[in-house]
């Protein structure tokens, strides 16, 4: 098993050859996508990639440092608004994005201060309040464009000459997601990330080992907010709109669900969680009466029963039932989330067919 020849191999990104190969294939496929796909798949991948960035950021806080946040939509909004307003003020897009992340990080730092002594439900309420406050302030202040938000400037960054705006934007989003993945993964393997995890497991021991709790807890908030803000900034261009009501509690909960469903404290989990929740979000559709009619044997009876007892106009709501059931089932059968399923699948394949 342990065939490593130097300690660096523990730090290396891809510890096995097949993994490196597969990651290479994935990178190539993502890079080639704009040449092959139309706008819509690029939009979906972009949406997923943005959520991957946010899930990574939130996982730094929730998974690795063990703090809960019900207010990350707030950082997401700050990122989106900051990018929009900076770009409107004439800043080029890349510096605007970076700056937006940093502004979000600054707010993360501020929120981290009162959060220092809080945990569990207490922290949940404070972060919840933060998210709502951000949403309300953006919606109310004329400076921020009021109820419809400021107009988002056209995305004019050209990464590959000859590509359309959508293709360039796609590349920027996916590249940012890739870099974020690397950055978070590396961070977690070095001194700062270790301190985050240590705080989660035992803050007392960490502080007695020289970890400054105040600094690292607020730092975790700031790092988490940075990535979330970055995601928000990309989202502003991706959707072409910043509407304050988009950044509501539901969005914060969605982010949290990504992290938990994916697997708390796991990089791969963040990716899987973001992919699954994003796809559920975009792809889940309600059923129609005809879908029931088509069922063999019981179809007609069932449709009749449903017609008598339920609103046909409300049938689209079945998607909520499906969504909720999926969340419950994943958590019931795999508390480690999709990451846990992944581990098991890997184990299963390794010993297959025995």
């Amino acid at each position: 098993m342990d065939m490593k020849r130097s300690y660096y191999e523990d730090l290396r990104l891809f510890d096995t050859l097949p993994l490196s190969l597969w990651l290479g294939v994935a990178v190539l496929a993502l890079a080639a996508a704009p040449a092959v796909f139309g706008n819509y798949p690029l939009y979906v991948i972009g949406y997923i990639a943005i959520n991957v960035i946010v899930a990574l950021g939130l996982n730094v806080l929730v998974g690795y440092t063990g703090q809960i946040s019900l207010g990350h939509a707030g950082f997401f909004a700050i990122g989106a608004y900051a990018v929009t307003m900076l770009a409107n003020a004439g800043l080029p897009i890349l510096p605007a994005l970076l700056l937006a992340g940093l502004i979000a990080a600054a707010f993360g730092f501020l929120l981290g201060l009162p959060a220092l002594r809080l945990e569990g439900p207490y922290l949940a309420v404070v972060t919840l309040g933060f998210g709502l406050t951000v949403e309300t302030i953006f919606a109310k202040a004329a400076f921020f464009g009021g109820a419809t938000g400021p107009a988002v400037p056209a995305f004019d960054l050209v990464l590959v000459p000859g590509f359309s705006r959508e293709q360039n934007l796609y590349l920027l989003i996916v590249a940012t997601a890739g870099l974020s993945l690397l950055a978070v993964r590396n961070l977690m393997h070095t001194r700062v990330g270790r301190a985050f995890v240590a705080i989660r497991d035992s803050d007392i021991a960490a502080s007695c080992a020289g970890v400054d709790l105040t600094y690292y807890k607020t730092l975790a908030f700031a790092v988490s907010a940075f990535f979330t803000g970055l995601g928000g900034g990309l989202f502003a261009f991706h959707l072409g709109q910043v509407d304050p009501t988009t950044f509501n509690l539901m969005l914060s909960i969605l982010f949290l669900a990504m992290v938990v469903i994916g697997g708390v404290g796991s990089i791969l989990g963040s990716v899987l969680g973001a992919v699954v929740i994003s796809l559920l979000n975009l792809k889940l559709k309600g059923l129609k009466m005809a879908d029931f009619e088509q069922l063999p044997l019981i179809g007609h009876e069932l449709a009749g029963f449903l017609g008598r007892n339920f609103m046909e106009t409300g049938m689209a709501n079945i998607q909520f039932i499906v969504y909720g059931t999926i969340l419950v089932l994943i958590m019931l059968f795999e508390p480690l989330g999709l990451y846990g399923i992944w581990i098991r699948t890997k184990r299963y394949w390794r010993t297959w067919p025995f």
Partner: protein, 392 residues
């Protein structure tokens, strides 16, 4: 092992990402079909507005049953976006880029979802008729392919204020508005009109979307001594407003927008408090005995899904799209987006269930007129206060 995983991954990918490399122009028109799309929230908090999109569906069904338009049936792609712009964009892009594409967008509920796809549609020249929101965004600046029907919220507010001051003799008018685009537009229009009349609002109170406890709002309105309140909120807030006002024994003259013009609904959900309300209406009343309305009302039981209600929003879903159908008819058998837009521009004073609608080169706001009406003391009978009126 890796191969198997790879296969699974490829399979999964193919499910979600249908290869649509064909960059050929998809127009959504075939020899026998015209593909038309609409989004509308069928689930979530905004679900009550979803009946607009279902109303459109009934209109198309009726047209198809009557033989379609110039030999083509309308294929209606309605999807649920939950009033979430990210989903609206995904749904529209998917439909537009999938064979055989989308010819035009019918209606589409909400300012925010509409704004999210507006540029995308306009860049591709995809016609869009009758967005279901009375927003200025659709016509500033006018877009070649975007034809608005819904009268501006601000115009409704102006008419109501004018009526309150000039006909009802009200002096102190308070404005109670939702803090969204709809509320802000109504608020702005009302303030402008009051200013024109040399008045200032007695008080301006905004209400957040999520609030369900409106006691302090109502106390403020009451304390202002207003004798009339312009109420620019959604139906739920209207109910809470009236119930809270009753509890506080506050009874001004209420005046409200076409969004709340569904009298039977409002009467039911307020528990009978929808009395003596002045409201603006952008369409004929659903129970009006005019031929444009009765033909749909008669057809309703046959086409509507179980659980549907013949109300203003459902009917508006018909009304917003009637001009599009008219445009399709005028464009003739040789249907292209160009010919359709030209046909739309030729529409003058078209009268369906909405007010009169006219377009022209450079004119994209089809309907400007609304009328005012009032419920009686029992809340069941409606009397029209003004004829169809345009704000000049």
């Amino acid at each position: 092992m890796l191969k198997k995983l790879g296969n699974i991954a490829a399979l999964a990918a193919s499910l979600w990402l249908p290869l649509s490399a064909s960059a050929a122009e998809l127009t959504g028109v075939t020899d026998t079909e015209i593909h038309i799309a609409q989004w509308g929230p069928q689930t979530g908090p905004a679900a009550p507005w979803g009946s607009v999109a279902r109303g459109t569906g009934m209109l198309f069904q009726m047209i198809n049953d009557a033989g379609g338009i110039h030999g083509r049936k309308i294929v209606y792609h309605m999807f649920d976006d939950q009033y979430n712009p990210a989903k609206t964009v995904a749904g529209v892009k998917e439909l537009v880029e999938k064979e055989p594409g989308i010819f035009a967008i019918a209606s589409g509920v909400g300012t925010s979802p509409g704004l999210a796809v507006k540029d995308y549609l306009m860049e591709r020249g995809i016609p869009w008729v009758g967005p279901a929101a009375g927003s200025l965004h659709w016509i500033t600046p006018p877009q070649k392919a975007l034809f608005a029907v819904y009268p501006l919220y601000a115009d409704e507010a102006k008419l109501l204020v004018r009526h309150l001051v000039e006909k009802e003799g009200k002096k102190k008018i308070a404005i109670f508005y939702a803090s969204d685009e709809y509320g802000e537009n109504g608020h702005r229009g009302a303030v402008a009109e009051l200013q024109r009349l040399g008045l200032t609002p007695a008080i301006e109170v905004s209400v957040n979307q999520a609030d369900r406890d409106l006691k302090s709002h109502l106390l403020k309105l009451k304390e202002s001594g207003a004798d009339a309140v312009l109420m620019w909120v959604n139906p739920t807030h209207a109910v809470i407003t009236l119930k809270t006002a009753a509890a506080l024994q506050f009874s001004p003259q209420w005046a409200t927008s076409s969004t709340l013009s569904d009298v039977p609904l409002m009467q039911t959900i307020t528990g009978g408090l929808w009395k003596n309300i002045i409201f603006a209406s952008f369409s004929e009343l659903p129970d009006a005995d005019v031929p444009t309305v009765t033909k749909y009302r008669a057809a309703f039981p046959k086409y509507a899904q179980q659980g549907e209600r013949w109300g203003v929003f459902f009917m508006a879903g018909i009304g917003f799209v009637e001009p599009m159908v008219e445009g399709l008819r005028r464009a003739g058998r040789n249907l292209t987006r160009e010919s359709f837009i030209a046909a739309m521009e030729s529409i003058r004073d078209y009268k369906g269930v909405m007010g009169a609608i006219s377009y022209g080169p450079g004119q994209r706001q089809g309907q400007r007129a609304v009328f005012l009406a009032r419920t009686d003391d029992t809340g069941t009978k409606v009397t029209q206060l003004t004829p169809w009126t345009e704000v000049k």
